[in-house]
């Protein structure tokens, strides 16, 4: 059976889920999109010598966590794409709680090693706490660069760190190796957030980040750095729902150096991640290495394209 179908089937066996149609639908709809991030535990499991089947429970946990985190995030952002518009905020909050609990249920099944299981449960629960705090901080709209990195390291990094750590524990890694992979995953999560921010700030019509006065990294750069069009950029932000204003603001993001800064941050984090990866005693580092490559290769290609 295909791995995402296995994950959906496993989820449907959880307590209460057989009777809870809305929870099943949300999970199945998400799994049908085959999110790449759900495969991160598999990559970690393979890198420590395990098989993909060993990582199914960890995949279910990451899938449940992803669905639950997204339900809450959409409500905090008022995102027009959020499921809460269809099912209502009370039901969405209820389901987010259920997905968090289901994720921990899945973690309790990801390894037979009792010490590893306890570490996995503690670390996964800690991930939820940190992510919730990060979402809270993000909703306050970070006003400077230091606050931005604090949000990134709480809202995004813990999820990806946990994804690699759970996969490693499921594959039989030592606690030390799994912890090293968690640290690498946190850095990977920062890179994902920078990608996310670059993408969101270039979308049209304006992404909710623009409309609600949030500051993804490129927008923060163009708002804070003293460049010739800083004043104009701040004016445009006031009318960002108008397409011409959005287009002009996006042009300023590009030629103020905001996108260049994001690319530089991605490259620096990639280089640090490579050093971390080289220090982890993995049987096969390639599956994890490919995760990092998938984020940095398009950036290098873009840099090369500018040479021609």
């Amino acid at each position: 059976m295909e791995i995402f179908s296995q994950v959906s089937e496993e989820f449907s066996t959880f307590p209460c889920i057989g009777l809870w149609k809305e929870a099943q639908i949300l999970f199945q709809q998400a799994a049908a999109r085959r999110p790449e991030h759900w495969l991160i535990p598999v990559r970690a499991c393979e890198s420590v010598g395990g098989s993909p089947d060993q990582a199914i429970a960890a995949m279910v946990a990451i899938g449940c966590a992803h669905v639950g985190i997204l339900l809450v995030d959409d409500m905090l952002d008022g995102d027009p794409r959020g499921d809460f518009h269809r099912i209502g905020m009370p039901a969405a909050a209820n389901l987010a709680c259920a997905f968090q609990a289901a994720a921990l249920h899945a973690i309790s099944q990801c390894t037979q090693n009792q010490a590893a299981k306890l570490v996995a449960l503690n670390r996964f629960n800690e991930m939820f706490l940190r992510t919730a705090f990060g979402q809270f901080l993000d909703a306050q709209a970070p006003a400077d660069e230091s606050a931005y990195w604090t949000v990134t390291q709480t809202k995004s990094s813990p999820f990806f760190g946990a994804a690699l750590q759970m996969g490693a524990l499921a594959g039989g890694a030592t606690l030390g190796t799994a912890e090293q992979l968690r640290e690498l995953g946190c850095l990977y999560g920062e890179m994902i957030q920078i990608h996310d921010d670059m993408h969101d700030s270039m979308e049209s019509p304006a992404n909710p980040d623009w409309i609600q006065g949030r500051s993804p990294l490129p927008i923060l750069f163009a708002s804070l750095v003293q460049h010739p069009e800083q004043k104009r950029f701040l004016e445009l932000r006031q009318n960002i729902n108008e397409i011409p204003a959005l287009q002009e603001a996006q042009e300023i993001l590009i030629h103020s150096g905001a996108i260049s800064y994001c690319a530089d941050q991605l490259i620096q984090k990639f280089e640090t991640a490579q050093i971390l990866l080289n220090d982890i005693p993995l049987l096969n580092p390639i599956p994890v290495s490919l995760l990092l490559d998938a984020l940095i290769t398009p950036v290098y290609k873009l840099l090369e394209a500018t040479e021609s």
Partner: protein
């Protein structure tokens, strides 16, 4: 290096190859950036294509 320091370096005719290439990114298009970053999004579902 924070964003202020980075901007100073970038706007000061960067001589290093790496910084020169980063300065070239100030000339790319919005579409090129969207293409470059489409693989890395995570807090939206439309990052992945639903299976029919």
């Amino acid at each position: 290096m924070n964003m202020q320091a980075f901007y100073k370096q970038l706007s000061n005719k960067p001589s290093q190859v790496h910084k020169h290439r980063l300065a070239n990114l100030m000339l790319v298009s919005r579409t090129q950036i969207l293409d470059t970053t489409k693989a890395g999004t995570w807090l939206i579902w439309n990052a992945e294509a639903p299976i029919a």
